[in-house]
């Protein structure tokens, strides 16, 4: 429904640090302009909540808020992915809500694509750009994939070390610079240079890491665990307490190297059947964390995420069997930050006392 001759500006909702990778694919591959979604703020969530069904899972509210802000700023082609839960309805519902609000835009809903039919795939690609060149898109894919892998690699290292930096802000400053350098990448060659340069600088940042650290693993639903705003920057909070944070859930481990089968097999003892969406990942990741000897696991999920709710009693079983605390957090658009802080602090007190490093107080 984009007007003729109007420049196409595509946008995908804010999600972790991946927007520059999507930008590369859209601009280099599809040949249209990409709008980096405005960073999520409280306004995004308020806008999204105002126009969403009250009981929908929170990621939908974030996405809708993001669409609204992107439309305000001139985006006219929105995208949504598909998934194994309500996520499949996200696109359709968001599109309808936005149309009812009177917005004019093109909507590329991947849930509508018949992935076995090349025709259907091409048809949907044409929604982004009617004159799309399939060859160009295919050519852009490897660099996008490498970019995502690099982002995940960078973030993993950051999570493991940021809590121990000697000079406060070193990691965050480098991360900012790193993401900015990804903004205007033109080629795979350039990406390789950036990769070499930044990974080297990342590893050079002075850290003061004791031999024994407190390690905590994060699990949870696809969006909440990956989008820091939606989990109240929990990884940052944990790192600030001096913990090493682990999180296996990212695009590399799901879309690029799909580990579903491996994960499902690994979790079999606790979950014979798949509870849906990312629940098998949650269970299997939690199990692998406790088997690796981590000190605690935190599950973050959006309020009302049924697959994650189903995985809660299973996580409790793992916690009982391995005697490792597993804490659950449910986030809604109206979560009290004080409650989160209190429980996180208590979590820290608990793991440090268990670790008995001498710093913790015996209860």
């Amino acid at each position: 429904m984009t007007k003729v001759n109007e420049e196409i500006v595509a946008c995908f909702p804010q999600w972790g640090n991946y927007s520059h990778a999507f930008k590369f694919l859209i601009e280099r591959g599809f040949g249209v302009k990409y709008m980096t979604p405005p960073p999520i703020t409280r306004r995004t969530l308020e806008l999204g909540s105002r126009h969403s069904p009250d009981y929908v899972c929170v990621p939908f509210k974030y996405c809708l808020g993001c669409y609204l802000e992107a439309l305000e700023q001139g985006a006219n082609c929105l995208m949504q992915i598909f998934g194994a839960c309500r996520l499949n309805y996200y696109g359709e519902l968001a599109e309808q809500i936005l149309r009812d609000l009177g917005y004019q835009f093109e909507f590329m809903n991947m849930a509508e694509i018949k992935w076995t039919s090349p025709r259907s795939i091409v048809e949907h690609m044409r929604k982004i750009n009617p004159n799309v060149s399939i060859a160009k898109v295919v050519a852009a894919l490897p660099t996008m994939v490498n970019m995502i892998k690099l982002i995940d690699k960078f973030d993993d290292f950051l999570r493991h070390n940021i809590g121990f930096e000697v000079n406060e802000g070193d990691f965050e400053n480098l991360a900012k610079e790193f993401y900015a350098s990804l903004y205007n990448i033109q080629s795979g060659k350039q990406l390789k240079r950036i990769k070499k340069d930044y990974l080297r600088r990342l590893k050079k940042i002075p850290v003061n890491k004791p031999a024994k650290t407190l390690k905590v693993g994060m699990v949870g639903d696809y969006y909440t665990v990956q989008e820091p705003f939606s989990n109240y920057y929990m990884e940052k909070e944990l790192a600030a307490m001096g913990m090493e944070v682990y999180r296996d859930m990212n695009l590399t481990n799901t879309l690029i190297h799909n580990q579903w089968k491996k994960r499902h097999r690994f979790a079999k003892k606790y979950a014979k059947f798949n509870p849906g969406a990312t629940a098998t990942f949650t269970i299997s990741e939690a199990l692998s964390y406790v088997k690796q000897g981590m000190d605690g696991v935190i599950q973050v999920k959006s309020f009302g995420c049924t697959p994650e709710v189903d995985s809660m009693p299973i996580l409790q079983n793992i916690s009982n069997d391995y005697r490792i605390p597993i804490l659950n957090f449910s986030f809604d658009s109206q979560t009290s930050e004080t409650g989160i802080k209190t429980r996180l602090e208590a979590f820290y007190d608990m793991v440090i006392a268990r670790k008995n490093t001498g710093k913790g107080e015996k209860a």
């Binding site: 703020t41 409280r42 306004r43 995004t44 920057y233 809660m312 009693p313 409790q316 916690s319 009982n320 005697r323 605390p325 449910s330 009290s336 004080t338 409650g339 802080k341 209190t342 429980r343 602090e345 208590a346 007190d349 608990m350 006392a353 268990r354 107080e361 015996k362 209860a363």
Partner: protein, 318 residues
Amino acid sequence: MKKGYIGIDIGSISTKGVVVDEKNTIIASDYLWTEGDPMNAVKRLLKSLEKQIKGKDIKVVAVGTTGSARKLIGAVTNASVVKNEITAHAIGTTTLYPGVNTIFEIGGQDSKIIIIENGYVVDYAMNTLCAAGTGSFLSSQAHRLGVSVEDFGSIALTSKQPTNIAARCTVFAESDLVHKAQMGHKKEDIIAGLCKAVVTNYLNNVGKGKRIKAPIVFQGGVSKNIGVKKAFEDAVGCEVTVDANGHLMGAFGVAILAKKSGIERDFDFNITALDFKTKGFECPKCANHCEIMCVYRDNKLIDSWGNKCDNGAIRVNN
């Protein structure tokens, strides 16, 4: 001159304070209503504590704060330790009952369960989503039934057939309660039913999937309600201990933490005479609109918090 340590637990409904000596004995304590004004409540509390230790030759060397207003009061009292209430309660309880395995805690606005093994917290859960089955719910229902919340427990004990009340949610419980009363159920049965409902709700909610093992200690404001204590004992099938100082356990725990911290700071009861002001505002610098709180002592900024990023940071100039 003996050293004394103050622990203050500022909850949503009540403010608790203790002074302990070096042997962890409570020398002074008080319990009063917060009345939505933590600053004033703490001033009243400190005045009362000061009166109680007067002439006993005690010098307060450290303060610890806990509860939902711990940060604010920590700034005001220049506290050595500001600790979350889960840890504070665990420390307080295990000091008095070293063998405890389970702590039930029901306060004014929240409820928690803490599982302890060999003196260490191994698991906990806290209900912050909803106030069903907490103290404020019980007191509003007592008001509706025309009895004082202090008599609630003893009335409940007189019931032989507690009425079933749907207590999943405060609003539903209230309408169910009205319905049962209109049907002709006796008041004591309804009251006993409410106590039972609180316990069922608690065990199904925060207690879900937790290993509840004796010895069990029950504390928080609601532990003063013997009706709820009895309902707990019926539900878990073993004795549930309620300490006479159960309502002070958070304050007691944080006083011990303040003592253990070894950080001694000058404390003067005179702060009750000083003028503390708080100012909250929404940071206009980005769309996050962080709620920033500034605390002033005699119009001088002493602390601020609430900003998510550096744009909203307010530095204290010392």
